[in-house]
Every structure is written in C-alpha cells, then in structure tokens.
C-alpha cells in the first residue's frame, strides 16, 4: 500500500517536473525568436516541411470528408424535403468543428510525430549538445523555428481543409444528387457568419496548432536519447496531441457556442 502510494507520488512529481520543463522550453523558444537574417530562412524551411508537405493529406481528407458529409446530410434531409440545407450543414460542420479538429489530428500524426522523431534523434546523436558547445542555443536554432512553423501552418491548413471540404460537398450534393445549386450556396451564405463561425474555427485551429507543436517539440527535446526513448516519445506525441485536441475542442466549443 505504502509502495503504491510512493509510486503514485513519484509519477505525479515526475509529470509535474516535465510540465515545468515544457513551460521553460516554451518560454525560451518564444522569448528568443531568432534574428530575421538567420531565423527567416530556417522558418521558411520548416514551413515547407511542416506545412507544405502536409498539404496532400489535408486536401485528400478534406475532399472525402466534405463528400461524405454531403451524402449523409442529403439522405437524412431529403426525408423532410429540406435537402437545400445540405450546403449550410456541410459548411457549418466543417468550419466550426471538423476542419480544425480533423486537420489538427492529421497534423499531429503527420507533422507532430516527425518533429518529435527529428529532434529526438538529434538529441540521441548529440547534435543538440554539440550545438550548445558551439555556442548556439538549440532552443533558438532548432525548437523556435519548428514551433513557429507549426503555429502558422495549422490554421492555414485548416482553412484549406474547409474550402476543399465544401467543394467536395458541392460535387456530391449538386453535381451528383442534384440539389439546386442556387439554394446550396444561398443557404450557406445566409447561415455562416464570419465572426461566429469562420473566426471561431480559425481560433480553434490556432490553439490546436499551438498545443500540437508544443507537445511535439517538447517530447522530442525531453526524450530519453535511445531508440526506445524516441519511439515512446513519438507515440506520446500522437496520443497526447490527439487527446488534447479533443479535450480542448470541447472546452472551446462550450465557450464559443455554449450560449448560442
């Protein structure tokens, strides 16, 4: 019994210490943004790696999710003769919920895990230590550009997800199932509010980008520098990011739309 209590306390203290370290890392990498001459090319490189290379998975998923939403929505709404509302339904569910959440989950799997593995391997091969000994802070050189790249990329990817998803919905709803195109767009325009829906969706994506990248770079930076440690860190990144996205999404939804 005492042993179990002790183990519980030990685990709790370890988790708290890790949380503390992650805040210190966040503080250092955000406070010391590299100077523009050095930092900008690094940021562009990471934006390409984290953002541009995630485009394909985001576009393909967005297209299929939009198509499925439209098909499911049609089969239900047609019973009530209100299939014109499909456009509105597709747009609202994408912009408010699915784009930030699904793009965030895909981003955690595609870019987050890669960030963790990359930084973890750099640690295991002493590249981070050697950088420190050369007199360059790895938090500025390695962590900060990756952090900012994730932070900038996810909101943009989420917006692209919405646009492609709506186009997918249009393909199925209008071109295949024959909903009148005028009412598809008109209902969407009338129902989607820029501030309440679009802006809140973007805010969600910004928060998710922040959470996923923070978890990913911290897990890489703090991992045990062995092959087993890196594999654990990569798994943790995907699991923690996914759970955080879902949890934070509920919280944000309650705050944003709870009183509507």
């Amino acid at each position: 019994m005492i042993d179990q209590l002790q183990a519980l306390g030990f685990t709790g203290l370890n988790k708290l210490a890790a949380l503390g370290r992650s805040f210190i890392m966040l503080f250092h990498s955000l406070c010391y943004f590299p100077n523009p001459r050095v930092g900008f090319p690094l940021l562009i490189k990471q934006l390409h790696f984290v953002g541009v290379l995630s485009l394909i998975i985001i576009v393909v998923s967005g297209l299929f999710i939009g198509m499925v939403l439209s098909l499911q929505g049609y089969t239900i709404l047609v019973d009530y003769g209100s299939e014109q509302a499909v456009g509105q339904m597709v747009a609202l569910s994408l912009v408010r919920e699915l784009s930030p959440v699904v793009a965030g989950l895909l981003f955690a799997g595609r870019a987050g895990s890669a960030l963790t593995a990359e930084i973890g391997l750099m640690k295991a091969t002493e590249q981070l230590s050697s950088m420190e000994m050369i007199g360059v802070d790895p938090l500025r050189r390695i962590v900060a550009p990756r952090f900012w790249a994730g932070f900038i990329s996810l909101p943009l990817l989420s917006m692209i997800f919405s646009v492609v998803g709506i186009w997918g919905g249009l393909l199925v709803g209008v071109d295949w199932l024959g909903i009148y195109e005028g009412s598809f767009w008109a209902n969407m325009q009338a129902a989607v509010d820029f501030r309440i829906d679009v802006l809140n969706g973007i805010i969600k994506a910004i928060v998710f980008g922040y959470v996923v990248t923070w978890i990913a770079v911290f897990q890489g930076y703090d991992c045990i520098p062995t092959s087993e440690g890196i594999s654990q860190a990569t798994t943790k990144t995907v699991v923690y990011s996914s759970l955080s996205i879902l949890g934070v999404d509920f919280l944000l939804t309650a705050l944003m739309f709870g009183d509507l």
């Binding site: 050095v38 091969t125 002493e126 230590s129 050697s130 000994m133 050369i134 007199g135 360059v136 802070d137």
Partner: protein, 270 residues
C-alpha cells in the same frame, strides 16, 4: 607552471551526483594552459560528465569550476553561450549535423559567430579541412563518411573558430588502427601549431600516454593519481597499476557487486 595564470581551468571542491550516486566527490584539478592534459579512468567514472561540467551543460551540486577566471556554474545563459564560443568539443560520435554537408558543418560556427564574407568563410573551411586531410570530402554528407572521417570533420568544425580550449571526448574509441594513428597525430600537431589547451578524455592508455603532457587518473569520484607519463607509470599503488597495465582483476573487481555465488546457485527461488 608555477603561477596561477598558467592554469586555464581550475576545479575546486566540486561535487556532482546523479540521483543517489555521487559521480564526483569534492574533486579538485587544474588544467595547464597550452598543454595536452589527459583525464583517464575506467568506464563510468564520469569522464564525459566532467567535460559537460566544464562546458556548463550541467551544473555541479557544489564547488567551483573556473574557466579563464570565470566561474562557469554562476554564469547566465547568455554568458555561457559566449564563453562556449571559445571552447571546442569533439564528441565521441562526431555529432555532425546530419542535414548539412561537410562544408556547411565546418562553416556553421563561422556563420553564427562571425560576420565574415562568404569567400573568406570558404577559404577558412578549406584550410580547416586541409589540416585534417579531408578537403576532398567537402561536398559529402555526414551519412557518406566513415566513423573516423566523421570524427575528423567534427575536429575541423571544433577548431573552426580557433578556440582557446579543445576538449576531446573518447577520441580513439571504436577506431581502426590507421584512424587512431591519424587522430593521435592530429591532436598532437594541432595542439602544437594552434597553441590551444587540449583536454583528452580517454581510457585508451597507449595512445593517450603518447600525447599527454599531464595526466589525471580519476576513479570513484576522486583523483587517484596525477603526473606526467613517467610519474604515472612509476606509480606503485595497486589501483593505478591495475588500470595502467590493464589487469582484469584487482582493487577494481572483475565481478559487479553480487550476493555470494554459492548461495545464489544453491538458494533456489528468490
């Protein structure tokens, strides 16, 4: 080496422990300027940890570590990175940046710490690579190098800024005899021509003795012996003799701490 000014690094009463285990217990040592000083000892005595303590990557529990008169554990982050630009360290694995070519690896410290024009950086990189005999490998990526070559490129990178202190972490481990000979020659000639202070952490006795001016033998958190090669070879204490002659058993036992063998074998279940 009579006046204090001749020592570039001074460690006094330093204690460092990891968890319950004390790696260094009130250890004191001084590294003379411009010489090759070797720190030797069995595996696991914290030789690499000592280099990390000197570089300020970890902090001691107590005691002071002075490098060029500055107390390393008391420096803030900015000052620490400033003084590190005057130190070079050769890691056991080389630790080259795997996403940069050999050229860019050697140019890295020059690019971040100086404002030199591109053609001058190119000349400097070629000079440093020439001194380690790898100018021909300038276009290669680290993954295309052998272990010995990677270590030599890392050495070129470590001397890129002409540091005052150069630390070698196990430079000979896992090298074939030719690569080992090359490294021994390089450490010696670089120290002579560039005039920096070299600290070699190693347990390869023959190679280290052939280049070291002064040797510290570290074991169980203490300095167990120190002196020149001749002095250490003449040492009669059993611990020093065991290490210097590579005897399998002695004060450092062959067996890791364990309960009685017979009892363990006959005792059955735990």
């Amino acid at each position: 080496m009579d006046s204090l000014d001749d020592y570039i690094i001074e460690i006094e009463g330093m204690t460092f422990s990891r968890g319950e285990r004390a790696i260094f217990d009130n250890i004191s040592l001084r590294i003379p300027q411009g010489k090759v000083t070797a720190i030797m000892g069995p595996s696991g005595t914290g030789k690499t940890t000592l280099l990390k303590l000197i570089g300020g990557q970890i902090r001691p529990d107590s005691g002071c570590i002075r490098v060029e008169g500055l107390d390393i554990p008391k420096l803030n982050r900015g000052e620490l990175f400033e003084i590190r630009s005057r130190m070079g360290m050769l890691f056991q694995s080389g630790a080259l940046f795997s996403d940069l070519s050999v050229f860019e690896n050697v140019a890295f410290p020059l690019r971040v710490h100086t404002q030199l024009p591109e053609d001058m950086i190119r000349d400097l990189v070629f000079m440093k690579l020439q001194s380690v005999g790898l100018r021909g490998a300038v276009e290669l990526m680290p993954s295309e190098l052998s272990g010995g070559m990677a270590r030599r490129v890392a050495l070129a990178r470590a001397i890129a800024l002409d540091p005052d202190i150069l630390m070698y972490d196990e430079p000979f481990t896992g090298q074939d005899p030719i690569a080992m000979g090359v490294l021994v020659k390089l450490i010696k000639t670089l120290n002579k021509t560039l005039g920096h202070t070299s600290i070699v952490v190693s347990h390869d006795i023959q190679e280290t003795l052939s280049i070291a001016d002064y040797i510290y033998l570290v074991a169980d958190g203490h300095v167990v012996a120190q002196g020149t090669t001749q002095e250490l070879l003449a040492e009669t204490s059993p611990k020093v003799k065991q290490f210097m002659q590579g005897l399998p058993d002695g004060p450092v036992p062959f067996h890791f701490d364990a309960p009685d063998y017979l009892q363990d074998m006959l005792g059955g279940e735990q």
